[in-house]
Amino acid sequence: MAHAPMSVKDRKNVLSGLKVREAMRRIAVHLPESASVDEATRCAIKFKVSAILITGREYQALGVVSKTDLMCAYYAGLPLETPVSTIMRSPPLFCGMDDSLDAALDTMRSKGVHRLYVRGDDPDQAIGILAYPDIVGLLYRYCHKCEHNTLRTRKVPSIFNFSDTFKVRDVMNPSLLVFREEDILSSVMEGLSAHRIGAVLIRGRNNLPSGVVSKTDLIMAYRHGIPPTAEAATIMSSPVRSCDHNEQLVSAIQKMIFSDVHRFFVYRDNPDNIVGVLTLTDAARVRSGSCRACVSSRIRL
């Protein structure tokens, strides 16, 4: 008996039908346009945020200063007293509370941004923020409650058990940016900017991985008056947080969350052989959105 070929339904996934208001967060931190770059760096460190909304006198959203912008200010040698309005990107990109999450994600992808601000009743004010990690959190909630979740029928107590099909190697990004301990911070910043990534691996004189320099490390160096001509070794975080490429994805996610880091470097055979990077957002997105129930819901026989 012949079977008709499978066709894929148009883009149905766990986010279908969900709105921005279900994933957005309230804005925890914003700064006035008169604030200094120094205040913005302190905010980024203290609140562990990747971007800060800059507001006007009437709290209207004027622009955004991201860690990348702060890193660029460091690279350019701007004094810490410089007003944030000098380096902010303006205007912020907005979405509406009742926009679909799919549409918001499309905007983020097409505009190449990691976050959208959510417009309130006053069209000039932002009342919330929508970033990739918020959507990841939502995916977890929906996956857990999904009526097609295979665990419900198997009576298995943990949602993680069906993720044993995923290994770190399936999700990691094999492209890697590597610098040496003696490379200067300006070169590291050029690399981060050109490749649009958040951190680089640092190798020691023996060619073994010795540390990581992230945008956060660079912003802290900026605040502490370390010149961009300093060597990477002076500010790198050490040791390198890493996981085995054969490790189960869920275990790696759990470790990243536990370690309060956004990325792990991935090794093969031994921790000195780094072969890729795994970020929390990518890992969690793949794990949550790729459950068999969701995959099957996209396929029509």
């Binding site: 959190g137 943990s158 309060d260």
Partner: protein, 153 residues
């Protein structure tokens, strides 16, 4: 002349330097509390010559301690988070207080009137306000000092 900050300020106070780490600040909070015989919820951060740079409170330190991905793992009820706070503390303890202090600090002069102080404390939800003279810290006014000074007259 009416009652002013000079009449209610505590001239015995403790300060931190901006390079003081969170771990050292926690010990300083505890030590100051024991010496003053009351809980110390925050301290002024000054330069070595006594110029006020900012204030750091328990709240500021707790903000730093709060896990970065809490909005994700808050959804993951089946993750074992035992030992998590120890990890958070290990990461936070070496951060200098200069990186997390509040620099937008409201201050008083010794001649600020007591009722003006009440007004500032109520409007800005402040419990302690530094008193400066020529840019240098000379005291601190606590809400409890103002309260009992006014109510037990």
């Amino acid at each position: 002349m009416g009652l002013t900050a000079r009449d209610v300020m505590d001239t015995r106070f403790f300060t931190l330097l901006p390079e003081t780490t969170v771990a050292e600040a926690v010990k300083a909070f505890r030590r100051a509390g024991e010496e003053l015989n009351r809980r110390v919820f925050g301290m002024m951060v000054t330069s070595p010559d006594g110029e006020l740079l900012g204030m750091v409170s328990m709240y500021d330190i707790l903000i730093l301690m709060r896990p970065k991905h809490i909005h994700i793992w808050g959804e993951m009820h089946d993750i074992d988070v035992s030992g998590f706070m120890d990890e958070c503390y290990l990461r936070a303890k070496s951060i200098p207080v200069g990186d997390l202090m509040t620099t937008d600090v409201i201050t008083l002069t010794p001649d600020t009137h007591l009722l003006q102080i009440v007004d500032i404390m109520v409007r800005k939800h402040l419990r302690r306000i530094p008193v400066l003279d020529g840019g240098k810290v000379i005291g601190i006014v606590h809400i409890s000092s103002v309260f009992f000074f006014l109510m037990e007259r």
